[in-house]
Amino acid sequence: MVTTKEEYAEIVDAYGKAGGDKEALKSREVATLVVHENRVLSSNQAEGIRIKWEQKEKGVRAELTVEAGKKIKHPVHLCFGILPKEGLQEIVLKVNVQDGAEVGIIAHCIFPSAVNIIHKMDADIKIGESAKFYYHETHYHGDFGGIRVVPKARIEVGKKSVYQNTFSLIEGRVGRLDFNYEVSCGEKSITELVAKVYGKKEDDIKILEKVNLNGREARSLIKSRLVLRDKARAEVIGETHGNAPLARGHVDCTEIVDGEEAIAKAIPIVSVNNREAKVTHEAAIGSIDKKQMQTLMARGLDEEEAVKVIVKGVLK
């Protein structure tokens, strides 16, 4: 039987291999939460930030509050994962970044042996006024593709606040991804949603990012970068609604199809309900750009090397 200590060591090791900073998990100054399956293996509080958690039957409920005016020096580190081949993990996350606060969160979700795993994350994020919240989530799902991941979030961005979210799944397989984020943006707020995904074999990717620019002079960018190989499929919906005067939004989707049977769809949905709002979109789907390939090959790279350079740059 694996002890909690051994379990913790294993997941931290996997966390490090997936790109996480293992030293941060040891530091007393860094707020952390490490969850394996439905067990919290470790948690650390830090000045200005409170983390409350509760173990449930199938996962964990966590609440993170950043106190008003506090600028958290070190990013919060979260680690969620399932190391065995099978399992179910449901994370319910509430984040409250109070007025004037500033915090970054680095989250790693690790499922290195996934053959039959479901991971769901349901989050409610409230960002107060004049606050800043940066959230960077990196996933690693191993090489078997036996995982279904359902990240869902509702975010409220307060007046004059900044919200930046990056979702990255570029190593290993994706499996099935059903990503659904909806953001409501207050006056003079700035929101940026970035998704980077590399689909291989039979990976099935659905991304829905919706931004409602509800406040005057609110601004947003939805940016997605996908590369699809083999028989991978993706559908990316980037939705932005300009509902207030001088609101500005942009949707930018690039999907590279590098496989005979890969299928990519990009569906930008843009609307304005105020004559002073402006929302734009650009989408580019297709095979790797011929001129880019020729340029790199004219520097001596062969075709495969050139593809790697281009894909690496797009997903960077």
Binding site: R225, T254, D289, K291, Q292, Q294, T295, L296, M297, A298, R299, G300, L301, D302, E303, V309, I310, K312, G313, V314, L315, K316
Partner: protein, 235 residues
């Protein structure tokens, strides 16, 4: 170093390259001067193996017939191309772009940037993407050709769209290329750039009409080509 013999290319029934012959010697800067639409860029593409294969004639490089070789093979032999409209690469830094073809020390990469007038501390970690102005992108392109230390560099209008302040940096870059041992085929319609060449060939309607020293060819170009009414018509 490079011999082009009776090269022909027909596109949609038009002789875009029309029995063209040209020689470039080792260590030479050889300019090809011509007005727009005479086939200069197409010639560059044929030498590099981009987009087209010729319908007739030969391209001999270092004694080897490379007429049907693919791009990568020509590049590995030491031929490269600086594009008239260089591609942009999201997420690829200038540092990495210059380091693609050779294992370079950071000092060397910085030297190549200085050679084209781009301060490394400002440009090294920038991406080769749409954030660069047209002129900056061209200078990065020239620096990347320098960094490859090619035997033979085809420079396709590297001076077009460059402001007067930056143009000397382009010229310096080309001169440096020669000093490092590269032969250069310099495609341009700018007489000021032509001045650094060892020889100039004047091109019109897909063929070389005349070859000679820069001053003489520029004069001939001015007197005959710039006012000519039958661009792109052979003979």
């Amino acid at each position: 170093m490079l011999q082009i013999e009776n090269l022909k290319l027909i596109v949609d029934g038009n002789p875009v390259i029309n029995d063209l012959s040209l020689n470039v010697d080792q260590g030479e800067i050889h300019a090809v001067l011509g007005v727009n639409g005479t086939g200069k860029t197409t010639l560059a593409y044929l030498i590099m193996g981009v987009n087209y294969l010729p319908d007739g004639g030969k391209i001999i490089f270092d004694g080897e017939d490379i007429t049907r070789y693919p791009i990568s093979q020509r590049a590995k032999m030491g031929i490269t191309l600086a594009w008239q409209e260089p591609a942009r690469f999201e997420g690829l830094s200038i540092r990495d772009y210059l380091g693609l073809s050779n294992d370079l020390e950071i000092g060397e990469i910085e030297d190549y940037l200085w050679a084209v007038g781009l301060p490394p501390f400002q440009f090294l970690d920038r991406a080769v993407d749409t954030s660069l102005s047209g002129g900056e992108r061209k200078r990065v392109e020239l620096a990347s050709v320098l960094a490859m230390r090619p035997k033979f560099a085809i420079l396709d209008e590297v001076d077009s769209g460059i402001d007067v302040v930056s143009l000397p940096h382009i010229v310096n870059g080309i001169v440096k290329m020669k000093s490092l041992g590269s032969s250069v085929l310099l495609i341009t319609h700018n007489e000021d750039t032509v001045a650094i060449a060892d020889k100039v060939s004047v091109m019109c309607a897909g063929k070389i009409f005349k070859m000679g020293p820069p001053r003489e060819m520029c004069q001939w170009f001015r007197e005959n080509c710039q006012i000519c009414g039958h661009i792109n018509l052979p003979g």
